[in-house]
Symmetry: C2
Subunit: 211 residues, 2 copies
């Protein structure tokens, strides 16, 4: 995944010659706490947060160029960089808005923390039965019933609480990967459980083939 796949293409920006009062009204209107300052060709000239604005208003400054941060203070990410870099920069520098630039240094979008949370949530929201479907497809010749029976057995053995194949299936139709991770206590345990199921169905297939 690239940085540009996470960005918002519609974003609010201002000019260095705008007045601080006008910018404050614009930021309130669009509920933006930080804004890039761009020139006419969409190149980055500076940056301001609503905290720079409060200070500017208090100190009776007039224009954005009086209060904006210079480009040397601004972190930018190129559109083709890995999305992971956006996550690291946002998290480490506590950025509310990270500008994404193209090959000509033009700002083509911004990433906000919410964009990152939404992207990461997509992974958490994968339904567990989708993983089972991938597993069934991989293990050619294993039926969905065999998989559910094996899962119910493994779960009963691990938790000590009897579960039927039907109950198990109902659970994984509802549960997301995020639920499963949190319920089993971590990624490694979740996968260990799945591998355990895989092992059981394979062993049963071998046993059946020998009959």
């Amino acid at each position: 995944m690239k940085a540009c796949q996470m960005m918002e293409k519609e974003f609010v920006y201002v000019s260095k010659d705008d007045t601080i009062v006008d910018v404050s009204i614009k930021m309130e209107e669009f509920k933006r706490f930080t804004v890039p300052v761009l020139d006419d060709s969409m190149k980055l000239q500076g940056w301001a947060t609503s905290l720079d604005i409060t200070k500017g208003l208090r100190e009776s400054k007039t224009y954005m160029y009086e209060i904006m941060h210079g480009i040397d203070e601004i972190k930018v990410v190129h559109k083709d960089e890995p999305a992971k870099n956006v996550v690291i920069d946002t998290s480490e520098l506590k950025l509310l808005n990270l500008p994404i630039i193209d090959d000509n240094d033009k700002v083509i979008g911004v990433v906000r923390p919410f964009d990152i949370i939404d992207t990461m949530s997509d992974l958490y929201d994968v339904k567990v039965y989708k993983i089972y479907e991938a597993m069934q497809e991989q293990l050619k010749g294993i039926s969905w019933e065999e998989l559910m029976n094996a899962s119910a057995k493994v779960t009963t053995r691990t938790t000590g609480i009897p579960v039927t194949a039907e109950q198990y299936e109902a659970n994984i139709r509802k549960a997301t990967f995020g639920d499963a991770i949190w319920a089993t206590g971590g990624l490694e345990s979740f996968f260990a459980g799945l591998i355990s199921v895989g092992e059981l169905v394979i062993a049963q297939r071998v046993a059946n083939a020998r009959k």
Copy 2:
């Protein structure tokens, strides 16, 4: 995971009788774009963002109670609610700061988007070899070499690019779960690959037992 496991216990808050100017200076100092307004017993009375502050300064208001949002407009989460609710609220309502309350309605912390990103990143940052270690532990009697050999075979078969067991091991020592998800194209594909490896080592073990 509970909401309170994600929250920051040290947070900035203000009183409704504080002046807007004092609060603006405090918010700039601590780089906070939103602040809860609490009474002496730490109960929530209101909320303000730096955008409310810019408006208040522009309109020459004096005290926080003149500009703060009332508690009916504020989303709060109880400390024992699932962390997932915090993620959903933050993402849907684009919250920069979500107050966490205890049984007595006292604010005991706040969650910022960065806290969520950090928590989610922990999952992405699990090294892939940790998942293999869990797999090896689960598949009793399978050696690490067998696992790496099988993985190299499956990868060579899937990608068409020859990979040795040593190269494969070097890769998974460096790569994170996030890298793997993005490289294989999704959670289901990543897991299908792991199952494929599990299937191969189990088949080999069965074949060896027959010799």
